[in-house]
Symmetry: C2
Subunit: 326 residues, 2 copies
């Protein structure tokens, strides 16, 4: 194993042979160097095309790392399930995992609102939270002891009558609009959020995701959170940007560190995407390990910037079992 200490040392030639972790010696060096492992889930723990199918030896590998005393955490941008639902899924598939080891962009957003956003609003009467989001997201808000309006409130799911906005009421107490993408979003929800952002001075917009597009079953694509966010951004002054609590943004890393103390210099982030996972690790001062069980293939590793270059590559996380004493 050639260990790349700085991104300047890295030379990826399309197959990344130099950086590839493949045998017992490589794995042992990795285990010696890192105390904590953060794992992306989609394409790393389970397959992208069937999220109930685990990647080879995934559970055994995670359990082995924990047995050897490593800190293990899971960091996903997919907030379509709550942490509780992810916990059930992990346990069903034989993973030895605890709730506090799971982080979704939804749980991190809720935590960020509680820990950072609300305490920062000095006037307590203006800390009301309006939510555009799903029931899974509401579970995360609840777990963080937050109170909110909106969300799955049936009133907000009703269609807005044609050109009759009388049901949209001013509420100067709303100081935060929290936005989570969901496919049942209505114009009424967007209008309420927009109205608070446009009318309430200093009202903040906090989001779980900013991907503009999503791939769908027919091979086409659909508008993602980032596309819908633009509706709300039309209400914000240009110099005021929303805070996005998902990879690759720093607020997500900060939030994980608030909840799980780890030594940055002895932590490695394991992911399947350059643009989210590797960038997230590099920006947060962590080393990164790119696996080829998900979105990225070895041939994709051309023309990377220093920020996008992983420290190591590996076919799939099961390779880490090479570190087991036999």
């Amino acid at each position: 194993m050639v260990q790349a200490n700085t991104t300047q040392d890295i030379r990826l030639d399309g197959h990344a042979d130099e950086l590839e972790i493949r045998d017992k010696k490589d794995v042992q060096a990795l285990l010696d160097r890192y105390d904590a492992f953060l794992f992306d889930c989609d394409g790393v723990i389970w397959h992208l095309d069937d999220r109930e199918k685990m990647t080879p030896d995934a559970a055994e590998t995670i359990n082995f790392l924990k047995d050897t005393g490593k800190k293990v955490n899971f960091v996903t941008n997919n907030g379509s399930k709550s942490r509780g639902e992810y916990l059930e899924k992990f346990r069903k598939h034989g993973f030895n995992v605890e709730l506090e080891e799971i982080h979704t962009s939804g749980s991190a957003t809720a935590g960020y609102v509680r820990d950072v956003v609300l305490p920062d609003i000095s006037d307590k009467s203006k800390r009301k939270v309006y939510v555009i989001g799903s029931d899974s997201f509401e579970k995360e808000l609840q777990a963080n002891g937050l109170e909110w309006t909106g969300g799955t409130d049936p009133e907000d799911k009703e269609e807005l009558p044609p050109f009759d906005y009388s049901c949209i009421k001013a509420d100067p107490a709303v100081g935060v609009v929290v936005f989570q993408f969901h496919t049942q979003i209505t114009y009424k929800q967007l209008t309420k959020g927009f109205n608070y952002l446009a009318s309430n001075e200093g009202c903040r917009l906090i989001c779980t995701n900013d991907n503009e597009t999503m791939l769908i079953e027919n091979g086409g694509s659909a508008p993602g959170a980032g596309a819908l966010l633009k509706v709300l951004l039309a209400a914000l002054p240009e110099d005021k940007q929303p805070v996005i609590v998902s990879k690759p943004w720093q607020e997500y890393m900060d939030q994980i560190r608030r909840r799980t103390d780890f030594d940055r210099r002895r932590t490695v982030f394991v992911g399947d995407r350059v643009q989210t996972d590797v960038l997230f690790a590099n920006r947060g001062g962590l080393d990164s390990l790119l696996v080829f069980s998900g979105r990225t293939q070895p041939d994709d590793l051309h023309h990377l910037t220093a920020e996008q270059a992983p420290n190591y590559t590996m076919s799939h996380i099961g390779v880490l079992q090479e570190g087991k004493e036999t």
Copy 2:
């Protein structure tokens, strides 16, 4: 009346006294100079705060102009009613008006799709039109002999199931997405439109409006067509912009001229807004007359660019009755 032949001659000092049409002599000069009058409706024909209340002597004035042989046309950006519905409203209030004298951004958009967009798509099998819009807009499409999918189709009004996009089918025959703002828009409609724009090469986006915000009853604001359009723009290459068929854009003027032949040099546009009406007239090579019965007040006329400067001002259209022989 001081007549300003070019925008360079205009000096507006906040009250626009020089340009104001107020007495019989001013009106007579105006009637001598113009054969055709185009009128905006909201804030010009009827009041902004109660659209069933006409501005003073509005019907008498329009009927007087027609009696003296003037061409009269109505040009509104408000497509919440069809032309047929506007015709009923005009007649109910005593206006002598015909259907072909009424233009809405909805009717002009439908006409533009029929006259310009579809003939320009050489492959006939790729001329299918997908509509995001209201039933009033569907009446305009029908009046133009257009066939379409979407619109008020109940299937498109259903909520998209959580993260199940199987109902969104590829349809390479869709070559045009037509977008009209309505308050009952669903994520499913946006997703269908987005998918066609993203997947079908050369698929065009034609819209009736691009206002980003709308004022609402509570004094706040709501996202307008321009804000929702941004969801669809995320699917378009950056060099490809949608065509907007509303004031102040040239396509609307071109479409009115296709339907109603008038001599540009002998036509004046009467409106209540600088940013839409006056700009529209000036860009289209028409003279403009700004009335103070709607959005703009004399004190608003500071710091106008040459493009925004009206040729004349008037308190309300009823002043034109000064031209009547007594």
